[in-house]
């Protein structure tokens, strides 16, 4: 099976052709298998992230033919083009810098009062949002996240020095951050004050972008539109409940 792997070394981009050798006659390898074999047989220092091989750790996301996929659970196909996700700056080869995303939440909901009865059950939606593996596939096509990069992606900005430094946390939000905020709000331990702080944080990250957006898509199938965006918009008053 022939694929193309896009490498990034010290600022240089290269397209490397690789021919995957099947290990079993009927093998339908995952993209991660292709990368592991490429590293073993032809690009010894190929950089890519992975961890669990089982769609749990969320770190192996790459773009396959321009769309974010979880490499350990995406079947490779003849002619696939494998590159780092376009929505984040590249650290090396297929490794994107993820740190600017979660960093924007650092300490943001700390120190608020909490209810103290630990023996309470959380609502189903709380668990539905906890299913997020932090794969960042949802950054794709998110206009709010794109605000960090003049409305495009880091890949399209040629002057890399002008990119915002992820080490400071991104100024504008994304579906993942909103999910974390909404999850916090659904937690039965969160007080009214916490509810409000959550909405304020969502607003400050640019929640208004969601009013004119067709909506986000999650890599593991969480219903972000209904379970995250809609309630946040309603409670922030950006969208009246009647409109839906």
């Amino acid at each position: 099976m022939n694929v193309t792997i896009v490498t990034h070394r010290d600022g240089d981009e290269n397209e490397v052709a690789f021919n995957y050798q099947k290990r079993e006659e009927n093998e339908r390898p995952m993209v991660l298998d292709v990368l592991l074999q490429a590293q073993l047989d032809s690009i010894p220092d190929l950089a890519f992230r992975y961890g669990c091989r089982a769609r749990n750790c969320g770190v192996c996301t790459v773009d396959i033919n321009g769309k974010p996929r979880i490499a350990c659970r995406a079947r490779a196909r003849e002619g696939d083009r494998i590159s780092a996700v376009a929505t984040l700056p590249i650290a090396g080869d297929l490794v994107a810098r993820r740190d600017g995303i979660a960093r924007q939440l650092q300490g943001k909901l700390a120190g608020l009062p909490r209810h103290n009865d630990l023996n309470v059950e959380a609502p189903d939606d709380y668990h539905a949002l906890t299913a997020c593996i932090e794969c960042y596939a949802c950054l794709d096509n998110c206009p709010m996240h794109a605000r960090n990069f003049d409305g495009t992606t880091p890949a399209q900005i040629s002057d890399k020095a002008s990119l915002p430094d992820p080490a400071n946390g991104y100024r504008w939000g994304n579906p993942f951050s909103l999910l974390k905020i909404q999850r916090y709000r659904l937690d039965p331990l969160t007080t009214d004050q916490g509810q409000k702080a959550g909405i304020e944080l969502a607003n400050s990250l640019g929640l208004d972008a969601c009013t004119s957006c067709p909506g986000c898509k999650c890599g593991v199938g969480i219903d972000l539109k209904r379970k995250v965006i809609k309630p946040l918009l309603q409670d922030s008053g950006l969208e009246s409940p009647a409109k839906n």
């Binding site: 070394r9 974010p68 090396g92 960093r103 890599g219």
Partner: protein, 653 residues
């Protein structure tokens, strides 16, 4: 040298951001320390996050589950290798430590009557009480808790994509016979620089070593033995390093799924058995067995030439599912008890296996390391004879979680590690914060950092011809054969010689000069850690010449109930080899041990009788038992976001 160095000052440096690291960071920060967390994976991405998410909560099903009961349970399961002050600490703190997860957002199902987290229907293998609690979304829920503890709740500094390389230590003096930690050096791959961190306390919470056996493992890629290698290079002692836990039921094929977890002994339920390739039963009463017993049974069949095509055995659960009344309950149990393991099984082996019409081909996989850095009950490094003394250990060095040894000895019971990381992460955090309050790193020690920085920096821009990936694969294949589930003196000696050769070849791995995400440098460092760790395991495995727990010697007897138990202790010599010795442990009084054995035998006898019952009677009896443990409707399952809707793994199965 082409790479820059950033200097930082902290009270407590925590290496690792899984369960142990995040609890340690929170506890140290709450105790008033200025804390930095380093993590080579993104924050929270760790074994903790990919686990089955089942935790031990004492007294969640029965009031008589005393501290003593739990502590003794751990020690007996661990063949008396665990230290009682460490198992006592586990039992004493377990409830409160688990609650720290809840404070960080973990929401278990609640037993409304008892006002405690809801226990799973069956005790997990080897537990003498029902005290394991499952969680919606398995380990991912724990991943969120780790992440939130470090990031969202504030007050803690952190750096991810950051590989901790080595500790920096002030030389030994009268007060610090093994020297004193003054900080360490790390490589920040994302920012392309080295970081020199001055800190009087360092907590190693960097996980285990199972990547030595890749792909025959279900753990995270990052388990390259960094914890043990880094501590050993700084002069710390390691305990029970031969005790690697292999989970018996991991997948063998297709290649993408090789090594992933598909079940636990309890999965086999009342009637599941293990068969060799000729269909002969090699282990019955599987649900009552420890992980070590099941793994050994499979591997002995393989060694004997009766293994399955991919070097394992067959887990046959057909007898559970066929009976008309109890069968449906079993299927529900199978699907809900370990949801992500079942998902792996279904995707890898297909529908007939998922329905249990076909037996499952299973093979052990490396899962956890019981041994580790030798510490006291607060995670502080110890050394010396007996149980070891804190004042003889490396001062300022702490370990928690899978990095530490002394808690589980020869065998770890299921669901205990997620609690372990909370208990000892918190303890180490508090102890490290206290230590930092009474110590400071003086400026005149800068030279020591300068030479560590220099040594690390010289690797950038190094020529060579050896592929790190190939070398790693060679080591991994050899590890499975020699320090894997079946060992012998001959195999170990051969392995020790190979390690020496690989150590030399490692210096021939080329490393380019650029700083930003230099994968060759990362591979070099991880391989160096894997080799040091393999060396430590090999030395301990040679020292223990009989079989006990996770350590099975083909050329040695099983340890007897009457012999005096001992732990192995290894430490790294100036030449880089590992010296080993034994340290005696206290044996459980024979009377207690015999009672325990009799209880075990009794349970197994009952299980065999059950299998011999006439079919209809058996079916009725089992239906009653399933109903009693699961309720009439069967346990309720909560699965992560529906696979059908998943866009990122579209085109699967």
């Amino acid at each position: 040298m082409s790479i820059d160095t950033e200097w930082l000052d902290y009270d407590v440096l925590v290496v690792g951001s899984g369960g142990a690291g995040s609890h340690a960071a929170r506890a140290a920060s709450e105790a008033g320390a200025k804390v930095l967390v380093l993590s080579k994976d993104p924050i929270g991405c760790s074994d903790t996050k990919i686990s089955e998410g089942i935790a031990t909560v004492r007294q969640c099903s029965a009031d008589d589950d005393s501290e003593q009961t739990l502590s003794e349970n751990l020690r007996m399961a661990g063949a008396d290798l665990p230290l009682s002050k460490i198992t006592d600490a586990f039992a004493t703190d377990s409830i409160d430590a688990y609650d720290q997860y809840r404070i960080n957002g973990l929401r278990p199902p609640i037993d409304a009557e008892r006002q405690t987290p809801q226990a799973l229907p069956l005790p997990m293998g080897g537990h003498n009480r029902r005290r394991s609690v499952g969680h919606a979304n398995s380990g991912i829920a724990f991943g969120h808790a780790s992440c939130d503890a470090v990031i969202a709740n504030g007050g803690i500094d952190y750096l991810e994509d950051n590989w901790f390389i080595d500790l920096v230590k002030a030389p030994a003096d009268d007060n610090h016979p093994a020297g004193e930690v003054i900080g360490g050096i790390s490589y920040d791959a994302a920012r392309g620089c080295l970081v020199a961190i001055r800190a009087p306390s360092v907590i190693i919470a960097a996980g285990g070593l199972s990547t030595l056996y890749f792909p025959k493992t279900d753990t995270m890629r990052g388990n390259t033995g960094d914890s043990y290698a880094i501590a050993a290079r700084a002069g710390a002692e390691l305990v029970d390093m031969e005790q690697v836990q292999f989970l018996p039921f991991c997948l063998t094929s297709p290649p993408s799924y090789e090594g992933l977890l598909c079940g636990e002994p309890v999965t086999a339920s009342f009637l599941g058995v293990l068969r060799d390739n000729n269909g002969k039963v090699i282990l019955d009463g599987v649900y009552l067995r420890t992980r070590a017993e099941c793994s050994a049974a499979i591997m002995r069949a393989v060694e004997d030439g009766r293994g399955s095509p991919n070097g394992g055995a067959w887990l046959d659960m057909t007898a559970n599912k066929t009976p008309p009344r109890s069968g449906p309950y079993f299927m529900k149990f199978l699907q809900t008890a370990l949801p992500s393991a079942y998902r792996n099984a279904r995707q890898a082996m297909g529908k007939a296996a998922a329905r249990c019409d076909d037996a499952w081909e299973v093979r052990p996989g490396a899962h956890y390391h019981m041994g580790g850095i030798r510490v006291d009950e607060n995670g502080a490094g110890v050394a010396g004879s007996g149980d070891g003394e804190t004042k003889s250990g490396v001062s300022g060095l702490y370990a928690a979680g899978q990095a530490m040894g002394g808690l589980f000895g020869a065998n770890r019971l299921g669901s205990t590690s997620l609690t372990e990381v909370a208990v000892f992460g918190s303890r180490a955090g508090i102890a490290a914060a206290r230590h930092a309050q009474s110590t400071s790193v003086s400026d005149h020690l800068k030279d020591l950092f300068d030479s560590a920085i220099h040594n690390t920096g010289t690797h950038f821009g190094k020529p060579g011809k050896t592929s790190a990936a190939k070398l790693r694969q060679e080591l991994q294949q050899a590890s499975w054969r020699t320090i894997g589930p079946l060992r012998s003196a001959d195999k170990l000696a051969e392995f020790a010689a190979d390690i020496e050769r690989w150590q030399t070849e490692l210096n021939d791995v080329p490393i380019p000069a650029y700083g930003s995400w230099n994968q060759s440098f990362i591979d070099f460092q991880e391989l160096r850690n894997m080799l040091d760790t393999a060396s430590a395991v090999c030395a301990a495995a040679l020292q223990r010449d009989c079989s006990v727990g996770g350590h099975v010697r083909l050329d040695g007897k099983d340890v007897s109930l009457f012999s005096t138990p001992y732990s192995t202790v290894v430490h790294r010599t100036a030449h880089g080899a590992f010296d080993s010795r034994r340290t005696l442990r206290t044996r459980t009084p024979i009377k207690r041990a015999l009672t325990y054995k009799v209880q075990e035998k009794h349970a197994r006898l009952k299980a065999s009788l059950l299998r011999l019952m006439p079919a209809t009677l058996q079916d009725k009896h089992l239906e009653k038992r399933y109903r009693a443990i699961m309720g009439a409707s069967g346990a309720t399952a909560m699965m992560p976001g529906g696979t059908e809707a998943a866009t990122a793994d579209a085109g699967n199965v």
